[in-house]
């Protein structure tokens, strides 16, 4: 074993974008709500002109969310400026329909007009116009899917958000960024040493993460568009667990320069670290509340790892979790109303949703070894790492436990998911 420390070869390749050709994640709905809404999404009138398919992406987003069921409409087209044949659509079993068309716009751009109709109540639910260049077809499809999701569920969608995760293949660690469903994956970093704890900046442009390429954990911030990155925490000892403040100006991290793991806040503009937790126990895994005023974190100050909360400037901590002998890896929903974390039940690690307004706590999974739960930007879904057939995979579950997705890939262990924000 010790020989290996000698031979540590850090091969950092592809700091910029590298498209991942094979081994993409594939979303499979493993448990859908019985209330999945039947929706018809006909091809856009004039869709053939587009350089890439659009409607198919909208359909996949809706179907993979687990909240919608696609109604077969064959070759039907439905322009947004005509009243649809409600009777025929109801006959096919649709409760809602997405009508739309695309036409060329000045400057080589495209314009898509979409409108939603409630087939049951025969209502026009409103529409929207999207102007975009050919390269933004996929992104536009995600925005249309968000519009459908928001109109029909009353909650903001998450289809434009992205996922960051790590794939381990032998001694090869790859940090990837993909669409929310694992498609269009790109490689941000490849290393022969572990990469853990990716965390999205609030603007979705940067990732902070922990890399072991310097033979110890060091925190980096990586600009996704350019592939440039810089060390933000390389202090004596270990540096880990980065979490962004909501304004993107501060990074909470765990440092050990005073011995035990304690939480610090780094002012990114000043490049200075301030210690905020002061305990003689392990304090780690900080995450900011959406208003930036609080830090939730894991501490073993009570004798076992539990979730606590303290002011983001430091001070006294309040214990948040009381059930079970192991609660760790908290994430806070962006509306601040819910927490998700890992809990140990009979030696098994499972994902919990903890409603902060009522205090109700629900164990959402029944797996053996779940890790790293992370909220979707609308706080309604949680992605987490789990294990199926001895291999690391990603899965997602709705906070009510009704919708279950599995994001499977063909090679390697997939782990450390972080669900990104809606891009600004």
């Amino acid at each position: 074993m010790r020989q290996r420390w000698f031979q540590w070869l850090v091969a950092l390749v592809g700091l910029g974008w590298t498209a991942v050709a094979a081994a993409q994640l594939v979303v499979e709905v493993t448990g859908a709500t019985s209330r999945a809404l039947p929706v018809a999404v006909p091809l856009l009138v004039g869709e053939e002109q587009l350089p890439q398919p659009l409607t198919e992406v909208v359909r996949q987003d809706l179907e993979k969310s687990g909240l919608f069921r696609l109604v077969e409409v064959g070759g039907m087209r439905l322009p947004e400026d005509l009243v649809p044949d409600y009777g025929a659509l109801a006959g096919r079993g649709a409760d809602a329909v997405v009508a739309g068309s695309v036409q060329g716009a000045p400057g080589g751009e495209w314009e898509v007009r979409v409108r939603l109709f409630d087939v049951v109540r025969r209502l026009d639910l409103g529409g929207k116009v999207f102007r975009f260049s050919g390269g933004q077809t996929r992104a536009t499809a995600h925005r249309i899917a968000d519009l459908v999701y928001e109109t029909l569920t009353g909650m903001p969608g998450f289809f434009t958000s992205r996922l960051a995760y790590v794939v381990k293949n032998g001694n090869r660690y790859e940090l990837r960024v993909s669409d929310w469903d694992g498609s269009a994956a790109q490689s941000a970093l490849i290393s022969s040493e572990p990469i853990i704890s990716p965390a999205w900046s609030p603007d979705g442009r940067r990732l902070a993460y922990v890399s072991f390429e310097k033979k110890k954990p060091v925190v980096y911030v990586h600009e996704l568009a350019t592939g440039t990155r810089r060390v933000v925490a390389d202090f004596r000892g270990s540096n880990s667990a980065p979490a962004w403040s909501p304004d993107g100006g501060r990074l909470a991290v765990t440092l050990t320069q005073d011995g035990i793991s304690q939480i610090y806040v780094i002012e990114l503009g000043l490049n200075r670290a301030f210690r905020v937790s002061r305990s003689g126990s392990i304090d780690t895994e900080p995450v900011f509340s959406p208003d930036g005023n609080w830090l939730y974190f894991t501490s073993d100050r009570g004798g076992s790892p539990q979730i606590y909360r303290m002011a983001a400037t430091g001070g006294e901590a309040q214990r948040v979790t009381f059930e079970g002998g192991y609660n760790a890896s908290a994430d806070v929903a962006r509306d601040g109303r819910g927490l998700t974390y890992l809990t140990r039940v009979d030696g098994r690690f499972r994902v919990v949703y903890h409603d902060l307004t009522t205090g109700a706590r629900q164990i959402l999974t029944d797996s053996e070894r779940d890790e790293s739960p992370s909220f979707a930007p609308n706080g309604r879904m949680i992605v987490y790492a789990t294990e199926i057939g001895g291999r690391g995979v990603l899965a997602a579950v709705s906070v009510d436990g009704r919708v279950r997705l599995r994001l499977s890939t063909t090679g390697g262990d997939v782990r450390e998911p972080a669900w990104g924000p809606i891009p600004q």
């Binding site: 880990s240 780690t284 894991t298 690690f349």
Partner: protein
């Protein structure tokens, strides 16, 4: 002893070379280097000088050496040094005082169960516990860096208590090994 002395002198020579001493000083041989070192009363600092650390590693390569073993194992979710490892800690403290210029890295590790970041903190606490035990035995804290590899670098890969126990450990590494 003679081996050590020669290593020491070579280190002094390299330090002087690095400090920009004249080439004649180096050509004069080890004896004159020794005189100058003693005359100034300076404590020689090996600048990338391999000699003491190589001597240290040669010494503990002997399986019968009390500091041959490098790993201290811990119980689940614990970080106290168990009684059976106290002698090993003492042996390494002695080795460190014998080679006072060699830097030390202690890597803490955890088994794979549960949160990766919490396991990183647990590994850190284990490494720090070993560091503090060495400091209590007179080793300068500045020489020792305690870091954690968490659950990321297991030596045993099965899902069994036997393997988990091997992965809950702190390894003492000497300069040249990291």
């Amino acid at each position: 002893m003679t081996v050590r002395m020669r290593g020491w002198l070579a280190a002094v020579g390299m330090a002087m070379l690095a400090a920009g001493c004249s080439s004649t000083a180096v050509e004069e041989g080890t004896a004159s280097v020794e005189e100058r070192g003693v005359a100034t009363g300076a404590i020689p600092t090996p600048v990338g000088g391999g000699a003491p650390r190589e001597a240290l590693l040669r010494e503990i390569a002997d399986p019968k050496h009390p500091a041959h073993a490098r790993s201290i194992y811990f119980d689940y979710d614990r970080y106290e040094i168990k009684p059976e490892y106290q002698n090993l800690v003492v042996a390494h403290a002695r080795l460190m005082s014998k080679y006072p210029t060699v830097r030390v890295l202690i890597q803490g590790n955890a088994d794979e169960r549960g949160s990766r970041e919490y396991n990183l903190a647990l590994g850190q606490k284990r490494a720090e516990t070993v560091k503090q035990a060495l400091v209590a035995l007179g080793v300068a804290a500045e020489r020792i860096e305690a870091v954690s590899l968490g659950e990321e670098k297991p030596v045993c890969f099965e899902r069994s208590e036997h393997c988990y126990a091997q992965n809950r450990r702190a390894d003492i590494l000497y300069e040249g090994e990291f």
